[in-house]
């Protein structure tokens, strides 16, 4: 079922990419008129993807990152190698992953693809404690390092903070927050953070502890702004604390925003990349999608605030019930490990 879903999505996105290309051409003139939004967003040279600072870490990251889940869906290692190589040639240096993606397969694939290239990239992976303590986290870290064939991570984040009780469990004595600090102290990770796709109020509770996070990851797209919004409720707080923001789900998670015609790939990605974020992580499971995304990122011109507002307004009706942000209103995007730890049914029993 996963496969047919993937290939359906691929075809849709491919069709939409043609549409997207002409949109990019149309909008370069807009940027040439210097109507920039005045944020931190920068422009692409057309040759390479622009780079930005990862908050206060001193690390420079590409404004577009390569999502690890979708990389594990590539048809074989050869295609994954090619995706990684072409992405790097275009200037992509930020690579996302998680301990539980495809039961470790995503990390293994990325580790293999990065052989001999490790020092040129920023590798992030996530730890899947879901309420369990420091020891489990440290053990998963060792597994991630082994699969990724490296001795350190650039960014290590707590994965899927999406359950109401997660913040308390993470900050409990002996909880996962302690593991982040310890790993950093041991030099096994350079920067630490957390991610989640569910509810801005849970993110806010995570950020209320003044914990020294370097990064925080969240869904940011042109529909989010008007529905249970991370852009409105979390992004400003992260900025206030000087935490680098990593955007994700710019197209709804599985291209829902594109498939349903709410926005073109170019509009969706440009919107997300025009926000004050360090990078926008985008999943790529084929060369076609990669080429589409790279074209957008290389030619990146930030949207003006007026353009961004027009897009938000246009998407408002479709955004209002969450149909294209299923990660907020259903269980569809909630991973198996978290469900298990919180005693929820598996995705087979409870798909959404």
């Amino acid at each position: 079922m996963q496969n047919s879903h993937d290939s359906g999505r691929r075809n849709f996105l491919k069709g939409a990419a043609i549409l997207g290309a002409s949109t990019v051409a149309g909008q370069i003139s807009m940027a040439q008129a210097q109507q920039n939004s005045g944020g931190t967003a920068d422009s692409g040279s057309g040759e390479t993807v622009p780079h930005r600072s990862l908050g206060r870490t001193g690390i420079q990251v590409s404004a577009m990152g390569l999502g690890g889940y979708h990389l594990g869906s590539a048809k074989d290692q050869k295609e994954a190698n090619e995706i990684v190589e072409v992405a790097m040639d275009a200037g992509i240096n930020f690579f996302d992953n998680a301990w539980d993606y495809h039961d470790g397969h995503s990390e293994e694939v990325l580790g293999t693809a990065l052989k001999g290239k490790r020092d040129k990239v920023v590798v992030m992976t996530k730890v899947c404690t879901h309420g369990r303590g420091k020891d489990v986290a440290m053990q998963q870290l060792e597994e991630s390092l082994r699969r990724l064939q490296t001795d350190h991570l650039d960014v290590w984040q707590i994965h899927e903070v999406i359950y109401e009780t997660d913040p308390d469990l993470i900050y409990a004595p002996g909880g996962a927050a302690e593991a982040l600090l310890q790993a950093k102290q041991q030099g096994k990770v350079r920067a630490i953070g957390f991610t989640g796709h569910k509810d801005p109020s849970i993110h806010r509770r995570m950020l209320a502890h003044n914990f020294p996070f370097d990064t925080v990851q969240m869904p940011l797209n042109c529909l989010d702004a008007t529905f249970r919004s991370f852009e409105t409720n979390v992004l400003p707080e992260a900025q206030r604390q000087g935490i680098a923001v990593l955007g994700m789900k710019s197209m709804g998670g599985s291209g829902e925003i594109i498939i349903n015609g709410a926005a073109t790939p170019s509009e969706a990605l440009r919107y997300a990349m025009s926000l004050p974020v360090a990078t926008t992580i985008s999943g790529v499971d084929s060369m076609e999608i990669l080429e589409q995304n790279l074209a957008i990122a290389k030619g990146f011109q930030p949207m003006t605030s007026a353009e961004m507002q027009a897009l938000r307004d246009r998407c408002k009706t479709l955004a209002a019930d969450g149909r294209m942000e299923l990660f907020k209103v259903t269980k569809k995007y909630d991973g198996g490990v978290g469900r298990q730890q919180h005693h929820f049914p598996s995705s087979e029993e409870l798909p959404a």
């Binding site: 249970r228 209002a320 019930d321 149909r323 299923l326 919180h342 929820f344 049914p345």
Partner: protein, 330 residues
């Protein structure tokens, strides 16, 4: 507050002078009864045992629940307070009126005592309800035409959404919501919505006293008795619970007929006891997943359908080509 019929306590329905039984019979589970004669007997024995509040919904088992209840209520209709729900889910008033006629026909009656908007689940449902030509107009019209006596809405998702509905400027007679000990600890209707209803004199109808399908009883966290007693001890007008067998009916009748409210101390002790399992919503999937959102709600909002849901299976079945030119009319 209590007076008895059979021996189940009766409580006042909102600001009206109507009284309804503190235990109500849920319509969805009625469609899960092994066969129609059993369903009919459940309805008959429930009425005879003092249950006067009957819940139903236009889409439960694709009309089967309403049909069974209509048959069970033959000769007993005037003894009960009959409610069903309309599955407009943001769609227009004309569709709601059409559903009302179907419900009346299936329930074999010329009027409903209560007609409620079903499953307010999505953030834009309140706006869609109150918009020109929205379902609010159907509720008003049906009341004017004397086809329904009272109107309300239901939902199991989000207390904030209930409050939003309560503030669209429509005068509701009743509001239905999940009320159980777990709810008191997680996105709580008891804490956020119930006091507002009591303040406004709107009838509060509790549902999911055992969390929908008895999940915490199966999980060994509470007993069915304490779960039901907890819900019935809240300041709500009735507690609607599903009964798909005569055994469950008898068990519930025994609890309701001899009902003694829990003391505030016992209620607090139960809340504390369930707290460790209540905090992440694992026993209240209706708040966090689409599981309890029936297909009409999902279709109207273009949410993914669940092919395992009984309604979806029935929907697929009902549209199968049988080879007969016309449907069989019973």
């Amino acid at each position: 507050m209590t007076q008895t019929s059979g021996s189940i306590p009766l409580r006042q329905f909102g600001k009206s002078d109507v009284k309804i039984s503190a235990l109500g019979l849920g319509g969805h589970h009625l469609g899960d009864a092994p066969d129609e004669p059993t369903a009919v007997r459940i309805v008959q024995e429930a009425v005879d045992g003092g249950v006067t509040f009957f819940d139903n919904c236009w889409e439960y088992h694709r009309g089967k629940s309403e049909i069974c209840m209509g048959r069970g209520l033959q000769g007993r209709r005037d003894k009960v307070f009959l409610m069903t729900k309309v599955c407009s889910h943001g769609r227009e008033s004309a569709l709601a009126m059409q559903m009302l006629e179907q419900s009346l026909r299936r329930l074999q009656t010329d009027h409903l005592d209560l007609w409620q908007i079903h499953g307010v689940s999505f953030d834009n449902d309140p706006e869609l309800f109150i918009r020109p030509n929205g379902a609010a107009e159907a509720l008003r019209k049906a009341k004017e035409q004397g086809k329904v006596r009272f109107v309300g809405f239901t939902g199991h998702k989000d207390p904030q959404l209930h409050l939003k509905m309560l503030n669209v400027g429509f005068e509701f007679d009743s509001v239905q919501m999940p009320l159980n000990a777990f709810d008191s600890q997680f996105h709580s209707f008891e804490t956020q919505v119930l006091p507002e209803l009591n303040k406004r004199g709107i009838a509060a109808l509790g549902m999911k006293p055992i969390n929908g399908h008895g999940e915490p009883v199966k999980g060994g966290v509470v007993s069915a008795q304490e779960a039901l007693r907890y819900a019935m001890s809240l300041p709500a007008t009735t507690t609607i619970t599903g009964m798909e067998s005569l055994d469950i009916l008898h068990q519930n009748l025994a609890i309701a007929q001899g009902f003694q409210p829990m003391s505030p101390q016992d209620m607090q002790a139960l809340r504390e006891r369930v707290k460790p399992q209540a905090g992440d919503g694992r026993y209240e999937l209706y708040k966090l997943s689409l599981k309890f959102d029936n297909p009409e709600a999902r279709l109207a909002h273009e949410m993914p359908l669940d092919m395992q849901s009984v309604e979806v299976k029935e929907m697929v079945n009902a549209t199968k080509n049988t080879g007969h030119p016309f449907p069989k009319v019973s």
